[in-house]
């Protein structure tokens, strides 16, 4: 079952198309990383999913229900924080949570529980506008968690967090997912920020979904994008010799580019080249990191 499924979601602001045929599929129980550079369409997608923008084209299902027909029922099971934290600066953390507790009609004990969860239990009478950005982010997450949602949608939750805060947030979201079975969707424009957190990834750029699948599938793509670079005295002959050994290659930038070779293959090829009188000056296997794969997907590598 999908926690979120959008079909053919397209959206325009004035004449400018910001989303084009986005088919988001967030599996229930997953931690889904929604990646894309600033302005890619992440926030617009999330605002549509939460009913904050009127759908112009396409359909949205959340937790198996049509958003169009069951908006309030869906929202009672979804916790969210979109863009910058929405907090009442003149109120304390407890008062902020009390505002939402009354709306969600959850028991008063939840306020203490979520404050402990996010490490803000001791903020007392300090007003939210006196909080650091990191504290505000954590309070926004506390608000989103207040009514024990089945789905958590967090837009750039790591913004303003220091490395320690990012670690804490990652641990918190992982625990919520593992221990409470909450499906989590986090958006980010930095892959490394969520790489250690997510099970699934969607990459959006210029309003179109460029990749969607498991993190493992993205890593397979990373593996596939690795290559062995060979610099020899006779590159053309080297390509032919490699092909004779089942290693198809091509010439690029004065080098022979082959698929990533393992140690045995490298050994066999260099021996074959040496035997044929081709001097090997350099052989190196270049493995691209996920960030580069991400940049490839958005066409900015």
């Amino acid at each position: 079952m999908q926690a979120i499924a959008t079909i053919g979601l397209s959206h325009k602001f004035s004449a400018e198309a910001v989303l084009d045929d986005v088919n988001l599929a967030v599996p229930a129980g997953s931690i889904y990383g929604f990646l894309g550079p600033n302005g890619a369409g992440k926030t617009t997608t999330l605002r549509l999913v939460l009913g904050l923008l009127r759908v112009q084209h396409g359909t949205i299902e959340v937790l198996g229900r049509s958003l169009d027909r069951h908006r309030l029922e869906i929202l009672s099971r979804v916790g969210s924080s979109i863009e910058s934290p929405s907090l009442y600066g003149h109120l304390t953390a407890v008062e902020n949570l009390e505002v939402w507790r009354r709306v969600f009609r959850c028991p008063p004990r939840r306020i203490g529980e979520v404050l402990s969860h996010v490490g803000l239990a001791g903020t007392g009478s300090k007003r939210a506008d006196q909080f650091s950005l990191g504290m505000k982010q954590r309070l926004a997450i506390a608000v989103a968690l207040l009514h024990e949602p089945a789905l958590l949608i967090l837009d750039e939750p790591a913004n303003g967090l220091d490395p320690h805060g990012i670690l804490e947030m990652r641990a918190l979201l992982t625990a919520l997912n593992h221990e409470h079975g909450i499906t989590v969707l986090v958006s980010s424009h930095i892959l490394s920020e969520i790489q250690k957190l997510v099970t699934h990834v969607g990459v959006i750029h210029r309003g179109t979904l460029r990749f969607q699948g498991t993190l493992a599938a993205l890593m397979t793509r990373q593996e596939q994008s690795a290559a062995t670079h060979l610099h020899t005295s006779e590159n053309l002959r080297a390509v032919k010799i490699a092909a004779q050994h089942g290693m198809e290659g091509r010439l690029a930038g004065g080098k022979v580019i082959l698929r990533a070779l393992d140690e045995q293959e490298s050994g066999r090829l260099t021996t074959a080249l040496a035997t044929s009188g081709v001097a090997v000056y350099e052989i190196v296997t270049v493995r691209r990191d996920l960030e580069n794969v991400f940049l490839d997907l958005i066409g900015e590598a």
């Binding site: 939460l50 923008l53 309030l72 009354r102 709306v103």
Partner: protein, 261 residues
């Protein structure tokens, strides 16, 4: 079910105005005129003993205070309160969070409107209290001034207070509509001020009742000064119809926004 949702929503909205400027604004508006009246007593202390024994002392005091209240203070306070209530969401970038809660737009709209209305009622109640203090304090301070001889006409005051509250409902509705539409704190105030100035400036115009900000002033002139004005209906009826029409329009505009935060 709907009432229950409204109650919880109202309760949440009411909490939001905690520590905002709505409380000092309501208190300041309520106590402003009574405080001036009280301080003015010090200028004519000799005249106080006879004034306090006048048979209609409280009516006189009430009439004196309501003149500024009906024409100026109450409309101004409503403009500020409505803007402040909407600004709580705008300033804190919280509309999106509010609209992502399981509440219908009608519930949110009605709850915020109810907060403004309760604040208006609170202001009028405090104003009456302040007026009582302004009336009674000189008698406690100055030895030669006895407490007012005439009884306080509670029922009459309550009826007239209620009438004035109904009279200003169109101002509440229109200022609320403007405040919801504008991210700016100043713009709704500017438009409200312009309409208020128009209503005061055209007070002698026979169609003045067409301006929704004029009903409290017309009511004051007709009731307290027995001014003869030809109106299609009494001011409360016109104000009530106007309030319903503007509120309905305001809700349609609010609910039809494609971008909800």
């Amino acid at each position: 079910m709907i009432l229950r949702a409204f109650f919880f929503s109202f309760s949440s909205e009411w909490l939001k105005r905690k520590r905002s400027y709505t409380l000092p604004l309501a208190a300041g508006s309520a106590f402003f005129i009574p405080t001036i009246i009280f301080l003015a007593r010090f200028r004519r202390i000799d005249a106080l003993p006879s004034l306090y024994q006048a048979p209609r002392f409280w009516e006189g005091l009430w009439l004196q205070a309501w003149e500024s209240m009906a024409f100026m203070i109450l409309p101004m306070a409503i403009m500020l309160v409505a803007s402040l209530i909407a600004q709580i969401e705008y300033r804190n970038n919280a509309w999106k969070q509010l609209h992502a809660t399981p509440q219908s737009l009608a519930t949110i709209f009605a709850a915020k409107l109810a907060v403004i209305l309760v604040l208006v009622v609170q202001l009028v109640v405090w104003f009456n209290l302040a007026l009582y203090l302004a009336g009674i304090l000189p008698a406690l301070i100055f030895a030669k001034v006895d407490a007012p001889a005439s009884p306080i006409p509670f029922a009459h005051f309550a009826r007239r207070d209620l009438a004035f509250i109904v009279d200003v409902l169109p101002i509440v509705a229109l200022q609320y509509l403007l405040a919801l539409r504008s991210k700016s704190f100043v713009a709704p105030l500017g438009i409200g001020m312009a309409l208020w100035i128009l209503s005061v400036g055209t007070m002698r115009w026979k169609y003045n009742y067409l301006i929704p900000y004029s009903y409290a002033g017309i009511d004051y002139l007709m009731t307290e000064y027995a001014r003869k004005l030809v109106l299609p209906a009494n001011t409360q009826v016109m104000a009530g119809i106007c309030f319903l029409a503007i509120t309905t329009g305001g809700f349609v505009l609010y609910a039809s926004r494609t971008d909800k935060g």
